[in-house]
């Protein structure tokens, strides 16, 4: 004979109706694009790539004023807009010219850097 636990209900009772639709809104919202400005190394193009590509480095090497002014640095490090960063930390398929529309995400202060997380590959398990 099993104990009185038979009366226990194992399933949730408190799931809110409408949450799933709220979720899909959240997912859809993430699809609207802003352009990422990657700080890249001019002297580290990806070996063996036909379409080019640059090594992404910490934002601290690049000047955030270049983004605001739309200027391109001729030094070793410069901003590379859009494109896709691969598992090895190289970005390609973007442009050295910033987009005219939409938001650009990047560093916004001298002591502030971004882009130090991400790009290691697919997650989840």
């Amino acid at each position: 004979m099993p104990p009185q636990q038979d009366k226990r209900r194992l399933s949730s009772r408190a799931v809110k109706i409408g949450m799933v639709s709220a979720l899909s809104l959240t997912v859809a919202a993430c699809g609207s694009k802003t352009t990422t400005a990657w700080c890249v190394d001019r002297y580290a193009p990806a070996a063996g790539r036909t379409v080019g590509g640059y090594k992404v480095v910490s934002d601290i090497f690049c000047d955030s004023r270049d983004i605001e002014r739309g200027t391109v640095s001729y030094g070793r490090y410069f901003w590379y807009y859009g494109g896709k960063r691969d598992d090895d930390g190289y970005v390609s398929g973007g442009s050295t010219v910033g987009p005219r529309k939409g938001k650009i995400k990047s560093s916004s202060g001298r002591t502030l850097s971004r882009g130090g997380f991400g790009g290691s590959g697919r997650s989840g398990s």
Partner: protein, 372 residues
């Protein structure tokens, strides 16, 4: 169900079977589920014992954890940094004891399907029946506990990544944020790539340059510590969920340590590090592999199968081969959820092959009201 868009769209070969498949479902007896719940909670306690063992003995090398990370893990464990959830993958055929195949302690997915989608399926198709599923309530409860522990009253941040092309991770992290907000903990979504480092303040910051005090991520710790900002973590007060001590559990060497500390345990399979030892048939898994990649199976008849992947540079474990049960050509794995320290629910994934990978299908389950 059109919400789970990530499955077939993400696979160019166009899988014939949808990810959410309710043309079939599993039926469990209540006694069976209560027994499995006990197994899950025992496995969870054993895993915590492994963390204590590694922290006490300093055997981080078994797990391939870098030296500079070890003190972070120890501090995090000694502080009892709060943990939220995990998913045990079990082999179970309804007769013998369930066997632990893997533990996804850091970045478990299939959460929304388990907590929400199959729950709605139950309400619509078998409203009188029960389901092993209190995941949602327990997540909300756990967030209440986590929120109560913090000293500040600020929001928690929820990090997704641009690297997620399927939308699965975004959906999961959005759901996590929902459960936290239901618990009264406001959330802010941020991409891992957008997290800023304010060197002057020594703090991780969001896009508004506000400090990130609590960061819930679905991004593996072994990646985080190897990325440029990983080196900034020591000394920062950010509360990570899952906490960094989960690195000990999100590593296949856990299976080796479990077998070492609890040899012969009925819910474990013999597992060894970097050698098959006395196993004649085994599954070789990379220490830090994901989604069934870079695996190799040697079956009792000497047959050998491999899956593709680039994982394995940190080493491999060899786990005794114990074939998944076969139901009409499909092989189920039970994903048993733990929230905080308690068993919380079940999600079943099926594959036609012997390795449950990212092409598997999710199948709902129910517990009939009157168990025969």
């Amino acid at each position: 169900m059109h919400g789970l868009a990530f499955h077939r769209d993400a696979h160019p070969e166009h899988l014939t079977r949808p990810y959410w498949d309710e043309s079939v479902h599993y039926v469990f007896g209540l006694d069976e589920v209560l027994a499995l719940e006990e197994v899950v909670e025992e496995l969870h306690r054993m895993c915590l014992d492994v963390v204590e063992h590694v922290v006490t003995t300093g055997r981080y090398h078994v797990l391939g954890i870098p030296d500079w990370v070890a003190p972070l893990i120890e501090e995090s464990w000694r502080r009892r940094d709060p943990h939220l959830y995990g998913r045990f993958d079990l082999r179970y055929d309804g007769t013998g004891p369930a066997k632990l195949l893997e533990y996804n302690a850091d970045t478990p997915t299939a959460l929304v399907e388990s907590a929400i989608v199959q729950w709605y399926w139950l309400q619509e198709v078998f409203p009188e029946d029960d389901q092993w599923n209190s995941i949602h309530e327990r997540l909300v409860d756990r967030w209440k506990g986590i929120a109560a522990q913090r000293l500040d009253k600020g929001p928690a941040h929820f990090a997704w990544t641009h690297g997620d092309e399927t939308g699965e991770e975004v959906m999961t992290i959005a759901y996590m944020q929902e459960t936290a907000e239901e618990a009264g903990l406001p959330g802010i979504a941020i991409a891992m790539e957008d997290i800023g480092w304010d060197a002057r303040r020594g703090r991780f910051v969001d896009l508004k340059e506000d400090e990130i005090r609590t960061l819930c991520k679905l991004y593996p710790w072994e990646w985080i510590v190897n990325e440029p900002f990983g080196k900034n973590i020591p000394g920062t007060p950010t509360r990570w969920i899952e906490p960094i001590w989960k690195m000990i559990l999100s590593n296949k060497a856990l299976l080796v340590l479990l077998w070492e500390l609890f040899p012969g345990h009925p819910n474990l399979l013999p597992t060894y590090l970097n050698t098959p030892s006395n196993l004649t048939s085994f599954v070789q898994k990379p220490l830090l592999g994901r989604e069934g990649a870079s695996m190799r199976i040697v079956t009792p008849d000497g047959d050998e199968r491999r899956t593709e992947g680039r994982y394995g540079s940190e080493g491999f474990v060899f786990q005794e081969f114990c074939p998944l049960p076969d139901f009409d050509g499909e092989h189920p794995v039970l994903g048993a959820w733990v929230v905080h320290d308690e068993s919380a629910g079940l999600g079943i994934r099926e594959t036609s092959g012997l390795i449950t990978d990212d092409t598997s299908s999710f199948v709902p389950h129910r517990i009939p009201l009157s168990t025969p």
